[in-house]
């Protein structure tokens, strides 16, 4: 049996308040191996962001099992989840979420501050520089984040997600707030990272953006209705054209 990085089994997520019960995710199962580039695609309200939050350890599933590196995450304490988020996961958000009154360096440094593994200042500086090199932002290292353009901010956010060398990078609508040129740049960076072996999970509602991934999970009403690789799809599209 192949060892999966992520194994989701029948995951449900139910939000309930006094009167209404919302099933954001229903019976989702899928596996993911290291080095994949998966796009979770669907219209708004399809549950794709909720699924990403569960997979990214920001939320617990209501039902079902979520195994990460073969371990059931159900019984992880809040501190253990924080440790996993710090060491194994990197997030890129639609709204960048950089600290406005901190420099590029300080923003990228942030995950290192919460890293409980031992490292010295020099190692940290090396990590920060390496992450910024990946996104081509070393030249802006001492600028404040509010002095950057949207595209630059998102690149810094990607560097922040990379600095602790996580197993997976989650990107939630990373191009949603960007102009098309910057969007293309950001997607190119994600693709390059994947080509270097980094696992990437992209959440998007745009078909075009999803095309950058190698595998697409199509979600509607909290369920995965289609799980196909881009290669398969291209082949199918080719067949259609031939007909």
């Amino acid at each position: 049996m192949a060892s999966f990085l992520i194994k989701a089994e029948n995951i449900d997520k139910i939000y309930s308040n006094e009167s209404v019960e919302t099933r954001a995710v229903q019976g989702v199962s899928f596996n993911l191996t290291e080095g994949e580039f998966v796009a979770i695609m669907g219209p708004s309200g399809s549950g794709k962001s909720t699924l990403m939050q569960i997979l990214g350890f920001l939320d617990y599933p209501t039902e079902g099992r979520y195994l990460f590196r073969g371990k059931d995450t159900k019984n992880f304490s809040a501190d253990e989840l924080a440790k996993i988020r710090n060491e194994e996961v990197g997030f890129v958000f639609q709204t960048f979420n950089l600290l406005p009154r901190a420099t590029v360096l300080e923003n990228v440094e942030l995950p290192l501050l919460y890293d409980t593994r031992k490292s010295n200042k020099e190692e940290n500086t090396q990590k920060i520089k390496k992450a910024l090199e990946e996104v081509g932002m070393v030249h802006r290292i001492n600028h404040f984040s509010n002095q950057l353009s949207g595209g630059e901010r998102q690149r810094v956010a990607i560097a922040r997600a990379l600095v602790n060398s996580p197993a997976v990078v989650f990107a939630d609508e990373p191009t949603g707030n960007l102009d098309s040129k910057s969007g293309i740049q950001v997607m190119k960076i994600l693709q390059d990272l994947n080509n270097e072996g980094k696992t990437i999970i992209l959440v998007t509602h745009e078909g075009y953006t999803a095309q950058h991934a190698k595998r697409i999970l199509q979600m509607v009403d909290g369920q995965i209705i289609k799980d196909e690789s881009i290669a398969e799809r291209r082949m199918a599209d080719g067949e259609k054209e031939l007909k």
Binding site: Q53, L58, R85, T95, R101, L110, P111, L112, L113
Partner: protein
């Protein structure tokens, strides 16, 4: 180290980003801390001033006052009630008693306020009728002339000794000795002027502003009374004061035909007890003022809490982000506590500085007004102020910080 330095740096930038708001929050703490420092310093200095003045008269004095005192409370005469049970013969009985060799001297006193005139100068001044032994008992000194003697004391002589400042008020630059003044329209001859003494101490009118005439003259010609206001005894050894007090009490009981101690119509106090009582009174006052100061600190603390709760709402996304990248609840709590402690500590430091400066100004003003005012800043009050301001940061920061830590990263990242 990095984990602490970065939040300090970031909280500093956050403070600078909303300067007015930070300033107002800090001012709340500044006022509270400064109030505590000032109350400590000014209170201590005032206490020292009063105690020094009493001890300046001599620590080996025993006062006998008419009227009974309730336990440790003040005797009725201090409240302005006139009691006539103490007389000149009581004083004589005490002085002439062979049983108390420790008594070196004793003086009787009557006080009043009278109109005094010299040529065109008219004023009201306090008058003390006393015995010739006054100089010895009170450790007083003469600037010029002499004090009245026992003969003058007994003969209803119309002689007067002037306090230092009233001598100047009446005679300006002229030599008062040999001059004439009118007290209650009766002619008196000035025979001496006392040396300056800033105050006669507790229970005695300000010596510099008073005129002194023989006891009987005061009783018969000026005040029209028979009794004594109080008696003061100078003893050779202040450690013997309790024994002397007991002896004096037994003499007075004999004189007044008192069988039961409960019926005592006099009160005996030594200087040490008076100092202690005064210290107690001023301490109570100081603690009361301190309580008032603490209220302003409390209000300042509530101000911090209020601002932090607003700040947390404003920085919801930041909190969510920090949690998303691996901050534990304790990391978030520490982050916000560092911010509140930074605010309260800045307030504390500025407050200490303000308090010290104001206390110093008070001492300058008091000095300029002629008081021997010492500028006292106790290290204790500084340490207390520092600890209090840090504690306020922690106490009023912990609730908002915990609230921030409880925010779910998912919800806060969604927060608009």
């Amino acid at each position: 180290m990095l984990q602490f330095l970065n939040p300090v740096k970031i909280s500093y930038r956050n403070l600078m980003a909303s300067k007015l708001r930070s300033l107002l929050t800090i001012v709340g703490i500044v006022i509270g801390v400064a109030a505590v420092i000032i109350i400590f310093a000014v209170g201590k200095s005032a206490q020292k001033l009063i105690v020094d003045q009493i001890q300046g008269v001599g620590s080996n004095l025993i006062a006998v006052m008419p009227g009974a005192a309730e336990d440790d409370g003040p005797p009725a005469t201090i409240m302005g009630i006139s009691i006539t049970t103490l007389t000149y013969s009581d004083l004589k009985a005490i002085i002439n008693s062979t049983g108390i060799p420790e008594i070196e001297a004793g003086a009787g006193y009557v006080d009043g306020t009278v109109g005094i005139s010299q040529k065109d100068v008219n004023l009201n001044a306090s008058l003390t009728g006393t015995t010739a032994s006054y100089m010895d008992v009170e450790n007083a000194a003469l600037l010029s002339g002499r004090f009245f003697n026992i003969d003058e004391e007994k003969n209803l002589s119309r002689v007067v000794v002037l306090g230092n400042s009233i001598a100047r008020d009446l005679f300006e630059k002229d030599d008062p000795v040999g001059g004439k003044i009118k007290i209650k329209d009766q002619n008196f001859t000035v025979i001496g002027v006392l040396e300056e003494r800033s105050s006669g101490g507790f229970g005695v009118a300000d010596q510099d502003g008073a005129v002194f005439i023989p006891l009987k003259t005061a009783q018969k010609l000026i005040l029209g009374i028979e009794h004594l206001g109080y008696i003061r005894l100078k003893i050779s050894n202040s450690e013997m004061s309790e024994l002397v007090e007991a002896e004096v009490a037994s003499i007075l009981r004999q004189e007044h035909n008192i069988q039961d101690i409960a019926n005592d119509d006099f009160t005996i106090r030594d200087q040490a007890t008076t100092v202690e009582t005064l210290n107690q009174i001023t301490d109570v006052l100081r603690y009361f003022l301190l309580a008032v100061g603490s209220i302003s600190l409390l209000v300042g603390g509530i101000g911090i809490m209020n601002i932090m709760l607003i700040v947390i709402n404003q920085r919801m996304r930041e909190i969510g982000l920090r949690k998303a990248i691996g901050a534990r609840d304790t990391d978030i709590i520490i982050q916000f506590l560092i911010e509140t402690v930074t605010i309260s500590s800045i307030g504390g430091i500025v407050g200490i500085f303000t308090g010290v400066v104001v206390s110093f100004l008070v001492s300058m003003v008091a000095g300029a007004m002629g008081y021997t005012w010492s500028f006292i800043i106790s290290p204790f009050s500084i340490i207390t102020a520092v600890l209090i301001s840090v504690a306020i940061g922690v106490i009023f920061g912990i609730y908002p910080a915990k609230k921030a830590a409880k925010i779910s990263p998912m919800e806060s990242l969604r927060y608009e």
